[in-house]
Assembly symmetry: none
Homo-oligomer: 215 residues x 4
């Protein structure tokens, strides 16, 4: 389960090999530090072939970033949905638990593939506003999903009557922050743990709930 489907055509296999190796090298060396020749060598193709397939280094990188996000997305979707529909999952888990599962699924993927984190950072660092970052596009696409789940949580009385968009942002920002700052100093292996703790705090809050009585 949770395996990537293998590409079938020969051309697709070659593309896949290039992207896989590009991911490794870009993650290890950074975008500017990466020599396309190295990627071509690792993929076992000529440099010209890389350019034929992806146009230029920038597009190769962006394709790599997209590749990473899609793999993450696939992984999380399979992991969370497991062939069920969102409403069923809400019913079965309750919204808070479902939100937790979604975040943890993402964290799990990134913990297994820390290269994806590097790619994401490289993309942000190199392309800033000039290219709409792949992972933000991913977030945008999935925002409505997250927003919908949150709204359901409010409707079901499981969540406070918060602003769903702000809450979605807080969720993803928190995930981001954990990934970027938390994966240094050998902490890469503890990403899931860190995200879990952070999400629990976000769900339940830091302030003592019997606080009002104090007033």
């Amino acid at each position: 389960m949770c395996q990537q489907p293998e590409p079938t055509t020969k051309a697709a296999k070659k593309q896949n090999s290039i992207l896989t190796n590009a991911m490794m090298v870009f993650a290890k060396e950074g975008f500017r530090n990466t020599d396309v020749q190295i990627i071509a060598d690792l993929a076992g193709v000529g440099k010209g072939t890389v350019y034929r397939h992806f146009g230029n280094k920038e597009q190769l990188f962006l394709a790599t970033a997209k590749f990473c996000v899609e793999r993450m997305s696939d992984y999380a979707r399979r992991k969370v949905l497991q062939d069920q529909e969102i409403p069923n999952l809400i019913e079965a888990n309750g919204v808070p638990q479902l939100l937790r599962k979604i975040m943890l699924a993402c964290a799990e993927y990134y913990q297994k593939h820390p290269q994806s984190i590097e790619i994401m950072i490289q993309e942000r660092a190199e392309f800033r506003e000039s290219v709409y970052p792949t992972h933000l596009m991913f977030r945008e696409e999935n925002r409505s999903g997250l927003d919908g789940i949150m709204q359901a949580g409010i409707d079901r009385g499981e969540l406070r009557a918060i602003n769903v968009m702000q809450a979605s942002d807080a969720f993803t920002d928190l995930l981001f922050g954990c990934m970027i700052s938390g994966c240094l100093q050998g902490q890469k292996g503890k990403l899931v743990e860190r995200v879990e703790s952070a999400i629990d705090l976000l769900l339940n809050g830091l302030v003592a709930t019997d606080q009002p009585s104090k007033t």
Copy 2:
């Protein structure tokens, strides 16, 4: 109030001018994309002078990052403390409010100086684990302060009996995430707003507190 003290000696002024311009250019172009010549030109000095002062491009960048973090730190300290002691502030504001103020002070600085955010991202992207990132060192230095405030909050019954280290991490990760993902697409001007909303959610939680009664 909240102004940087100006450097007095001539040499310090020159260093300051180089760093200020370096900050602008590195933030705009990214580390690898920056030609040191441009910084020298903007600072009104020869390229040799830049190298004389900072050794090489890498050290120039790291000095710039340190410069940014120190300015942020000074700003937040002045803004939050206002010549008072932490215990007094806790007494006067309560812990949740104080935590809010600290985060907002940081957010305010970064909203005013979005270049600092870029510098931070560039540092992470370029130097990864090889150099202990300046902003993480800053965080490390200040962690004990944040931890202490949280502990006081628990002792005072204002915060739940959470793990203070995890909570500190969650706070800073959230701030990070907001800065990095939120400052795109013209949202740089809304950083404070975004952080404010996120911190409120983290403080109060998403889950409805009267939830148990529903069961």
Copy 3:
């Protein structure tokens, strides 16, 4: 006769062209004074091509030095041997005459190609002990030949019972000295003459042979 065989493949021709021009420029300007761009321009290739073929300036220079020594070696070998075996030559000429011919063949080459002398000096000046100089390697390879001829001379009663290694050294040192100090002030055209005179003196000695009778 005594012509270099031309390289056949296209790649070899290009390498040859680069080396030939490198020899000219290095000899004229010196190693440190030479801009690789100039060599590339003269060879009619891009600078990148030069680096592609030779790695860096240092290796380009060392390849040039090797190129020079090999050409000299080929020239001298063809000139002296003329398709005969050493023993035959000894028989036909006698050892002193053969030694003379060898030295003169080398001198002839250097007189025709004074650039080779410059390259040799540059190599010694720039790389000192760090790289085992090309021409010393050449000497080492050919020492045994020279030693053998000398030993034959002693055996045949043509040479005094000298130490053959010391004598070989003296021969080559003398050639060296003539080349380096003698090729200044327009004396380059007289190298053969100078070597010839010096070798004759070395062969026959300066001291009057009827000297003993004076005692």
Copy 4:
């Protein structure tokens, strides 16, 4: 005995210190590789002072070369003459022995101060024909002396009736060759030995003197 007289005035001492350190650095690093700053630092003066005294790097180097040759010359003169006149020395030693002593005195100096050899090579490599090399000027100045001694040797029947100029050249060329090629591979300590053997061969010749009997 054989000590350099110390400079007396303050300015002269400073010049001397600069030259001594320049000799060390130029010999170790080569002319182009040497940073004038290093020399200034070692001499304990400002870089400006070096330029004030010597004009530019080239002139500093040439002054250093001159300094080296003069020290060598002084050393050899003191060592050979020992307060006597040339005619007396000829009378006392005979010409062949005197020539030997002269060469060995030079060799001794260079063996003690191999840096001087490097300086000589650097000068030749860097300045070629453009500047009349210091050591060749030295040779020119002393040629008449050597020529005179040789002529005396011929007149006294100690030397064959050779061409004295050619013989002088052969002597110095041989010394040169020994110095330049012989002082590699840790052989610097054996320079005197090598020169001694070479000079003996040059004096006595390689060809067997009873050769005529063979006819």
